[in-house]
């Protein structure tokens, strides 16, 4: 009897060890599959354009008053506006609500987002509708017949 009991205890110990061994192996295998898989799904960082200044291809005199147009600021869209007084202004064209691209409404002199009806005034402030934050404003300089737009600060 004593002999049989010790065999059972031995078997039990072996069973436990084998179960532990098997489950850790299965766990390690699972991790070795899911880790590369999840890393693969996360897109790699692409070098972002760090340009903090851009020279536009359009001449200042060719921009009509009370109009706006989209231009490329690095990889992002931005908007250049000439207000009714002839002053040039530039903002990020990405709406602060849900990232649609804004446009200039000459009828109300607002920057306007068609997606969810967000309004910004010509200082970029969110004045009406759902946008929670103002648009980022850029500095516009006219140098020797060229429009140069800079990030502020």
């Amino acid at each position: 009897m004593a002999h049989e009991g010790s065999t059972a205890a031995l078997d039990n110990g072996r069973r436990k060890f084998l179960n532990w061994f098997l489950s850790t192996t299965a766990g390690a295998f699972l991790i070795s599959v899911t880790y590369p898989l999840s890393r693969y799904l996360i897109p790699p960082k692409v070098e972002e354009s760090t340009a903090s200044t851009v020279t536009l291809s359009i001449k200042p005199n060719d921009v009509k008053a009370n109009t706006g147009q989209i231009f490329r600021f690095g990889s992002q869209p931005a908007i250049l506006i000439k207000d009714t007084n002839g002053e040039l202004k530039a903002f990020s064209a990405v709406c602060t609500h849900l990232a649609c691209i804004v446009q200039y409404r000459s009828d109300i002199s607002h920057i306007w987002c068609a997606c969810h009806n967000g309004h910004f005034d010509l200082n970029g402030r969110n004045v009406e509708g759902p946008p929670p934050k103002p648009l980022e404003q850029f500095a516009v300089n006219v140098r020797a017949d060229q429009i140069v737009v800079n990030k502020r600060g």
């Binding site: 897109p43 972002e48 990889s75 691209i101 446009q103 987002c113 068609a114 759902p130």
Partner: protein
């Protein structure tokens, strides 16, 4: 051989011995559909399945010409619509059938809800069904981008920005969805892979489970019918199946008419450096959410309106999914008011907001 049932031919017998046809036949014979005054609502599940099969068929056909890259996607669909014979028909069927399928699915969902079909022991049927609804909306959302036109581009910018609002994990989720920081060709390829491979694979498994559970438990009889001990039934095959077929034929007729008279449009090619077009709108089944986002003010009690909106949608979705576990009375086979009231409120809200979405002036 003489001992075998005389009504089956040699081929049937040969197959039966190898794959067990008679077991299947027994299973089909056993299936019955309860008859009562709400039987009509049973048709919408099968209808959804039928439209899904059309989606698979037309989707495979579209794959033969479609090219998933920012430079070629729009042009390849233009090619399908103008050069490929009956290309316009295949794409229009795919687009219309998608809409009808979502509609049939909502009918199926709300009828199952109102008839308390989610109660014990069908909780898993309800859960797998809500999973299928989520997957179908994901199908719609990813498929909408594939033509790479203006509407698609902005709908995707907005749609992928929405999870981006969530604190902490938002930006990560947005990057994961877009395949980068912005909506680009990388997003198009990603959505294409999701639309034609990942979602179909998951749907196959969950749809299999859903259909298996429907066979296992049989059709649910609403509590009012259960109480009346009215046990009228109809064999599924061929009686109910033939009625199903009539419904499918009607759906096919409607589908063909819609595709022929209102072929799917393509619009203008997406340009990431153009403002969002005036009057931009998503698919109709996202319209109520879209309009909600439009009407929410920028801040409510100091919290950004958009965040509250997204949390609200999430909460409604969660209540819907967990309904079998929230409705304690249904577990005791008793009818309770609030799920019905919740469903009616949800339907009414969606109809009003969708109506506003289509009728409010886009520039005001």
């Amino acid at each position: 051989m003489e001992n075998e049932s005389p009504k089956h031919g040699k081929v049937w017998l040969w197959l039966d011995e190898r794959i067990g046809l008679s077991d299947l036949a027994k299973l089909v014979k056993k299936k019955e559909v309860p008859l009562h005054r709400h039987t009509f609502w049973y048709y919408f599940g099968g209808m959804t399945l039928f439209l899904f099969m059309i989606q698979v068929g037309t989707g495979i056909l579209l794959l033969l010409y479609y090219r998933p890259s920012a430079g070629e996607a729009f042009e390849s669909i233009q090619f399908i619509m103008t050069e490929v014979e009956f290309g316009w028909l295949v794409r229009s069927l795919h687009s219309w059938s998608a809409n009808l399928m979502i509609f049939a699915m909502f009918m199926h969902l709300f009828s199952a809800l109102m008839l308390n079909a989610y109660r014990r022991p069908r909780e898993m049927t309800w859960l797998s069904g809500s999973g299928l609804l989520g997957l179908s909306l994901a199908f719609g959302f990813t498929g909408y981008l594939l033509p790479w036109n203006e509407l698609a581009y902005f709908a995707t910018r907005v749609g992928t920005e929405i999870p981006g609002i969530l604190p902490v994990i938002g930006p990560f989720l947005r990057r994961l969805l877009r395949g980068g920081d912005d909506v680009t060709g990388a997003t198009l390829t990603r959505f294409y892979g999701i639309h034609v491979a990942i979602l179909p694979a998951i749907v196959t498994v969950i749809l299999g489970l859903h259909l298996f559970l429907v066979q296992k438990h049989g059709m649910s009889r609403p509590p009012s019918v259960e109480k009346s001990s009215d046990e009228k039934k109809m064999p599924f095959f061929p009686n109910f199946f033939l009625r199903d077929l009539v419904g499918w034929l009607c759906a096919l007729g409607l589908l063909a008419a819609l595709a022929a008279y209102y072929p799917a449009e393509l619009g203008k090619k997406a340009d990431p450096f153009q403002p969002a077009p005036i009057g931009i709108k998503p698919e109709w089944y996202f319209m109520a959410m879209f309009q909600t986002m439009k009407l929410l003010p920028s801040h409510i009690l100091g919290i950004e309106g958009e965040l509250l909106g997204v949390l609200g949608f999430g909460l409604v979705g969660l209540v819907l999914v967990l309904l079998p576990f929230l409705d304690r009375r249904a577990a005791l086979a008793r009818w309770s008011l609030w799920p019905t009231a919740f469903a009616i409120a949800l339907i009414a809200y969606s109809i009003v907001l969708t109506y506003l979405g289509y009728t409010m002036s886009p520039t005001k």
